[in-house]
Structure formats: structure tokens, C-alpha cells
Amino acid sequence: MSASVLVPTVVSPIVVSLYVPAIFTGLIVGLIGLMAIAYQKDDLNALILTDIVGMGMLILVAAVGTDLAEALILPGLVVELAEILAISEILMSREMRKKGETAELIPLPTSMDMEVMTTAPTFLAIILIVYGAFLSGFTGGAVAGGGILFYIISRRMRGVPSDTWEGIAGVSGIAWCLWLVGFLVFFVFPQYWLLALFLAAFGVFIKVAFKAGLIGVIGREEFNKK
């Protein structure tokens, strides 16, 4: 296959011609979100509406249409999710202090008394974790994390030793260090790039999986208190 099919020297004219419509879409999405934030009075609504503003940002980045832009979307998306996670927790803490009431950490609309929650969690969790390990990286981490989350939530009545949380958090931190080592190997010992790639890919995998799992552990501890 010729090199021009693999990687062209300039961005293709189709992408260039789509740039202005894409930017306008992004600006309009951003404006809609900002207008809504400026009009509304409720704090929770404002928090949810910032997500729309974030969508506008993603469109602005994606409009560039190169592989670089595709790689830059990921940090943008993660930063947005991370901030919404931390800020919503602060909002909850503030409301609880103001009103003096407590709330569920993970409010569930129903009692979740389903057949699948008692019979299949181990099987489903193992399948998801194995598949996630095959995928590796962020995608795999999300899949495997979903598996752990599901397992822990469905097993919430059994109870797991209370120091599990610290253990999982520790493993997640170690995985992050693995990744840092992998990153350094890329530059200090470039000949071991394959090792570095695997350190990075599985460091991310373990880290993201356990991050999702932590949500489940916190949720379970909350349930056990009843």
C-alpha cells in the first residue's frame, strides 16, 4: 500500500472544508450551555449544564481532525469527568450540612432485588475482567472496572473486610507508579520500548479498573451501615 494512503502529507480537503461548520457547531453548543447556566438559579442544574459546555469543548478539539486531535480528546474528557466527580461530592457535603439531613451515597431507585444480582455476579465479573485485560489501556480499564463494580454492588450484603478500600486504593496507586516507570523507560532506555508500552498499557488498565471498583466499595460500605 502506498505511503499516501497510510499517511498523507497534508490534511485532506474534506476535513479542511468541514472545519468551519464543526467549529460553529462547537460554538453554538457552548453558547447554549452558557446561556442556560446564566439563566438558571439552581446549583445542581448548573453542575449538570457544565457538561454541555464540556461537549462544546470536545467539538472544538475534534474539529482539527488529525490523529493528534483524537489523542487530545481523551485528556479533555477525563478532566471534565474528574472535576464533575469532585464538585458533585462537595455539593452533597454542603447540602447535607445546610439541611442537616443525610442522603444515600449511591441512591438507587429500586431495591435492586433481581435474579441476576444473586446468581451471576461472579461469572459476569470474571468475563468482564478477562475481556478488559485483553483490551488493556483506558477502554479495558473501564470494562474491567464495570465488572468489579457490578460484583461488589451485587455482593453488598455479604460484607468484605473494611480495609479492602485502602488495599484497592494502594494497588491503584502502585499501578500509577508502574506507568510512570514505563514513561521514563521510553526516554531513558528507548530500546526497551516494548516493555515500556506494556507497563504503560497495563498500568492504566489496573489503575482505571480499580478506580471504578472503588466506587463500588464505597457504595457497599454505605449499604452495610444500615
Binding site: 453542575l47 485528556p75 471534565e80 472535576e83 526516554f187
Partner: protein, 225 residues
């Protein structure tokens, strides 16, 4: 590479793939002062506020307990390191990520308090920080689109276009929101009304240094002289 940035001869650079950290004298000085301040914070203890009771002689001490102290010190150190990193990074997108890290750690430093007013201010600051992601990353993406690069060392040679000016305006507004400078200071000023002084000061220092750095970046992009 023999490059002069804003009239300064580079003293060196740290290449990390496409992201090159460059060491110009001014940046290096700000980097060192951020690190020095972070070290000071890491070894210091928190203040204790005293609330005077009206009409009585009973004063109430507002202290920071051990757990809170630990998490705050940790977050303050991360904030100092992020500030130091933002001083020397030579990549636009890398810089925006450093600013986002500073923003979220700032929220975290005050998230541990019990005063409702402070929590409310932290929440409102968080909202602004989240909205500010749009101009931050959007501005960086526009500069990428119009120049084809996000390395500041390359952008320094590219003649300025209207789109770059617009992108850098967006970037500046994003940094202004994320660091809470005037006229968006109210949320940040409110956040200081809580005990734990040395850790709170890093919030101040980080926004000061980041603003200086973003002005340098705007000069590099727009080349007014």
C-alpha cells in the same frame, strides 16, 4: 536547538517526546521559587484560628485535625509541584493540563472544611473551573488548528493570524476562570475564610505564578513587539 524566547537565550531543555520543557532564566526562577515555597509548606504546621464569643469571655479555637491536616498537606504539595511544572512546560496543551490540575487541587484543599459558606464558595469556584475548560482546551485547539503545532518553541516563529489572537484570548479567559483572578475573585476570596493558613497560601501563589506564565505565553503567541 538554539532558540531565543522573548529575548532570552535558553539555558537548556528537557525533551519528553513532543513535549519539551524549556529552561529560560525567568521560567527557571519561577520554577525554583515555586519549589522552594512548596518545601516550606511541606514542613510547616497549620495556624489555629480563634473565634471570639460575643458577650462572654469564652473563646473558641478552630483547629485542623490530624486527618484533615494530612490530606491538605498532600494536596498543597501536589499544587506546588503542578505550579512548578506549569512554569517550565513548553507545550500549550501540557500547560492547560497543568492549570486544570492546579484548579482541581485548589478545590480539594478547601473541600475538607466544615463551614457552609466556604463549601459554597468552593462549589461555585468549581463551577467556574468546569466552564473554564471550554476556553482553555478550545483556545489551545484553535491555535493548533491555525498553526499546525502546539509547541511554544515552534509557535514563536509563526506569524500571528486573527485566529491565533482569538485562540489566545480564549486561553486567557480560561486561565482567568481556572485561577479565579479579578473580576472572578469573589469565590476564591471566600475560600480563604477557613483555618489552615500555609496550605491556603499555595492557592494564592499558584494563581499568581500561573498568571505571569500565561502572559508570557500570550506574548509568545501574539508577538506584539
Amino acid at each position: 536547538m538554539d532558540i531565543i524566547i522573548l529575548g532570552q537565550q535558553l539555558m537548556g531543555y528537557i525533551p519528553l517526546g513532543d513535549i519539551v520543557l524549556y529552561l529560560a532564566p525567568v521560567n527557571l526562577f519561577m520554577f525554583a521559587s515555586a519549589l522552594a515555597f512548596t518545601t516550606l509548606i511541606a514542613i510547616s504546621r497549620t495556624e489555629t484560628q480563634v473565634e471570639a464569643g460575643v458577650g462572654t469571655l469564652k473563646d473558641q479555637e478552630v483547629k485542623v485535625d490530624k486527618d484533615e491536616f494530612k490530606i491538605r498537606r498532600f494536596l498543597a504539595i501536589v499544587c506546588g509541584l503542578a505550579t512548578a511544572g506549569a512554569m517550565i512546560t513548553g507545550d500549550l496543551f501540557n500547560f492547560t493540563l497543568f492549570v486544570c490540575l492546579i484548579g482541581i487541587v485548589n478545590i480539594g484543599i478547601v473541600a475538607a472544611v466544615k463551614q457552609i459558606d466556604v463549601l459554597d464558595a468552593a462549589f461555585q469556584y468549581g463551577l467556574v473551573a468546569m466552564i473554564a475548560i471550554l476556553p482553555l482546551f478550545g483556545g489551545a485547539a484553535m491555535i493548533l488548528a491555525s498553526t499546525g503545532t502546539i509547541s511554544l518553541l515552534e509557535i514563536a516563529h509563526i506569524p500571528t493570524t486573527f485566529m491565533m489572537i482569538f485562540g489566545s484570548l480564549l486561553l486567557f479567559l480560561g486561565v482567568a476562570g481556572e485561577t479565579g483572578v479579578a473580576p472572578f475573585y469573589a469565590t476564591k476570596a471566600e475560600m480563604f475564610r477557613t483555618p489552615g493558613s500555609p496550605f491556603l497560601l499555595i492557592i494564592h501563589l499558584s494563581s499568581l505564578l500561573v498568571i505571569i506564565r500565561v502572559i508570557e505565553i500570550l506574548l509568545i503567541i501574539n508577538k506584539p513587539f
